[in-house]
Symmetry: C2
Subunit: 536 residues, 2 copies
């Protein structure tokens, strides 16, 4: 009998790959702790032993409630490597939703940072019987709490490095819940195989122009670790041999300091966070840092105004697109062969689209009703296939059926593919404004409004209208006082230039101090829509 | 019921990835024909239809007898994409062995370039009953032969593009035979999944320093397409979006012209071919081409002398290592974190080792007898695991068992891992010279001899010796006349400097005009060993 080894695509292979080729590459958690890939791997294997001793078994789910810390990074490896399931708990949810997701995911263990303990202490009676809670503090001092069953650091310090058990590549590695602005959170989950293939493909496009990421770059990741695997970077950096900087809870002053000190060259984030960083009062002291900074923007569309401001600072900026359901990355706006020789401004305009499919992703624009494929520049629903899409909404066959109808994952996003092969998202299907039987692409409209110099942020939503069905209402955070009239004149001019349709111009402009945000720092259009309809 | 789409890692996904993002990227076959990725994919899909019409079915094997042409490249895609199996026939074998491999692989169809037809016409009666032969000429003129059943170009021109059938990622995509210098050729085969994962990992390391390959590079591949998938590049270039140049039959004058005209920046080859190119009479006219040239050397060890000569010409050179059994790539000498900050000369010395594992490869040095893992710098047998190793020797359970003993693929190569994590091959186990109970690492010894300025090429083999078991004999191709005495003095000096052991110095130096080569252009040590033993 042959003893052929069936190589499975499991998370331990990523760790092994990183450690073997980049043993002394660093992982930095704020100014709190530093690891090399090698010492980190050792620590992960000790945690595996500690978790086993505590009783964690294959197939059981372990939730984590934390900021972007070294503890979280340990969990990204140790838990799946045991054959257990990592539940990245969304800490931006209201407490009752957090508890609901913990119950839904059937967490048997929770790893909790000390500052989140009050939340659990209050809800103690609602936690499942037998659940074990592992607590920790940054200082490694033992946490005093009557609901703590074990100390995270002690689990590591009192254990020998574990052997690596054989795990099936098709077993579940992670679970988390989509932000659910449209109803109850839905669970999505991913296998080892999906995470490994996603990391390979995302690594590959990072090296393409204009980012040209190499092993000498330094990541500081600004996508929360509870948010779709931080877009895969906790695995990508290890596979790619790149130094990794963890910022903890986002404090933009500290982030600027970290970027300087650790020589950060690369980050990924939602537009709001880019906005916070480059408009930070201390930003002027970090211009040298911005000059070497490469940024991938995703999560929501990047307004052209913000993109130009970033470009002026010397930041190289591209965009990506994906969903919780898609692991997440589907497209990135690296230069394909059609764009690489365009002039700088045209290239830039493609860079700030949602991008072009990354290796192994198949993407189509289809008619939301008939399913027929659309032509270049025609708006329709984005549907996809790739090796890393969620198989289902956890225990929800009804919604799963809708998600996967016709053998394609339905993103629920409306968009088109331009003549260069780049995707433009014009709307979430649920945010779409339908007026007089026609769609008004709110993201496109917002983009044009954002070009007005006095506009800081903008969001357009639909308000019910007896005559037209819906009409657009714009919410504006101004940089300096603006009148409705000057904005309307600006948009008329834009419509004369052919950039928008005249009938898209919003019926009303509402000026507010700041945008309501979802748990993942995107503008919460549900709240704005409610507001718009109440203000009729 | 959910219509979840189980995404399989199949060859069609590589083609789709290339075409979607790099539709106008070029494929060039000599000065004969040019394609874009897009027109090539269309042509592949027409060929699929043509082959189906001819009767080619899922699971059936199609052999190809050809140089590195556009026809061969079609076959790399169209045949596996039908669910059929591509047999890359080794045309460097003697005719009777070629026939043997065709029978062993159970080829039902053969695609044959016109100039190879005489070989088959002579052996007509030995071909399996019912075998169909597809012929072609470069000029697209129909080939006159009474054994031709179809014309390749007609299959394409008379067909509509085929749909892409669903193929399992675990089905066989390719088969070929190892060069078998030690006996009968052994068949190895690879699934779609293995080829896709190999292409992903090889693409990833290409982007690392010092090569820094990007989508703007231009490959000219100098690894024959019958030889271990041309090291995977016929898939890598498409996945990576890189222009691809096919040289046909290797004519070094023409290759130099092509490199200039097509602005080639990147190639892979065995050392012998690098030697032929840089010592070509016209090489002096192409110095500007060498200056931008990045080269991966594999197949056999790169002598330091040749490497330094290439470096002087401005060629960026790194090495790789792998076997027919391993798809082939296992290691590449990109810069890992331990090497990237060394001084230039130390870096260079690591660049010309066999390299460090590429992503997902696990590699160990073990004692050939006990299987115990060796320490840094200790010589032992190289054993590996990766997602792209052959599952077996085709229909040879005995040899398969030996290949896979203990759950690791045994390479049969002796080597060690240095303190930076780079593999040094010191010998093929079968080429090893055992003298007085100790190994003389012939590759290391050859390397030192190659440093003597008057030496052009060198190979050291063992000659039977009554007292010592074996003693080393050196075969030398001189640049200018050398005496045995001056070489012996040089090696004594090297031994004084601690570079070799004194007792390694060969008993005899035999000066020859050129090295005998195997079918894959490596130095044929079997012939030299026979010669050494006859010359006693």
């Amino acid at each position: 009998m042959s003893e052929y080894y069936e190589y499975e695509l499991t998370i331990d292979k990523i760790l092994d790959t990183g450690v073997k080729s980049f043993p002394d590459r660093e992982i930095v958690y704020r100014d709190v702790r530093r690891y090399t890939f090698s010492s980190f791997a050792d620590s992960v294997r000790r945690l595996m032993s500690g978790l086993k001793k505590l009783g964690v078994k294959e197939g059981e789910t372990v939730g984590v409630i934390d900021w972007d810390t070294d503890v979280y990074l340990h969990s990204y490896y140790a838990i799946p490597m045991l054959g257990s399931v990592l539940h990245t708990v969304n800490i931006r949810y209201p407490p009752e939703i957090i508890l609901k997701t913990i119950l839904q995911a059937e967490d048997k263990y929770l790893i909790v940072r000390d500052e989140f303990l009050p939340l659990l202490e209050k809800a103690k009676n609602l936690l499942p019987v037998g659940m074990k809670i592992i607590t920790y503090s940054d200082s490694k001092e033992k946490v005093r709490s009557n609901i703590s069953d074990a100390d995270f650091w002690e689990l590591i310090d009192s254990s020998e490095p574990s052997e690596i058990p054989q795990v099936s590549e098709n077993s579940r590695a992670t679970i988390f819940f989509t932000s659910g602005t449209t109803g109850d959170p839905k669970g999505v989950w991913f296998t080892h195989r999906k995470l490994v293939l996603h990391a390979l493909s995302v690594s590959l496009v990072g090296a393409r122009p204009p980012l040209n990421v190499t092993t000498n770059d330094v990541y500081l990741i600004l996508v929360p670790m509870f948010h779709v695997h931080s877009w895969g970077y906790p695995y990508v950096f290890m596979l790619s041999g790149i130094k990794y900087v963890l910022p903890g809870k986002y404090d933009y002053g500290l982030i600027l300091k970290l970027m300087d000190k650790e020589r950060v060259t690369f980050s990924a984030m939602v537009p709001t966070i880019l906005y916070f960083i480059i408009t930070h009062p201390e930003a002027q002291n970090y211009l040298h840092v911005f000059k070497r900074w490469k940024v991938i923007i995703g999560g929501s569309a990047l307004p052209e105004g913000l993109a130009r401001k970033a470009k002026e600072l010397g930041i190289t900026i591209i965009c990506g697109y994906g969903l919780s359901e898609t692991c997440p990355v589907l497209t990135v706006s690296y230069y394909n062969s059609l764009v690489e020789n365009l002039d700088e401004n045209k290239k830039f305009l493609e860079q700030i689209t949602a991008g072009t499919p990354i290796p192994l992703v198949q993407l189509r624009i289809v008619d939301p009703v008939s399913g027929e494929e659309k032509k270049v520049n025609e708006i329709g629903e984005i549907v996809v296939r790739s090796p890393w899409l969620t198989k289902e909404y956890y225990k929800d066959p009804e919604k799963t059926k809708a998600l996967w109808r016709g053998g394609w994952l339905h993103t629920g996003d409306l968009g088109y593919i331009d003549e260069y092969g780049y995707v433009h998202i014009v709307d979430r299907e649920k945010d779409a404004i339908k007026s007089g039987g026609e769609f008004i692409p709110s993201l496109l409209l917002e983009n044009v409004i954002s070009l007005y110099p006095k506009v800081s942020q903008v969001a357009v939503v639909g308000r019910k209208d007896e005559k037209w069905g819906e009409r657009p209402i714009a919410f504006i955070v101004p940089k300096e006082p603006i009148t409705e009239e000057e904005l309307r004149n600006f948009l008329l001019e834009m419509s004369n230039q052919g950039k928008i349709q005249k009938w898209w111009i919003p019926d009303k402009f509402i000026f507010i101090q700041s945008m309501p945000l979802t748990s993942t720092n995107k503008i919460d259009k549900k709240i704005l829509r409610d507001l718009a309809n109440k203000s009729m």
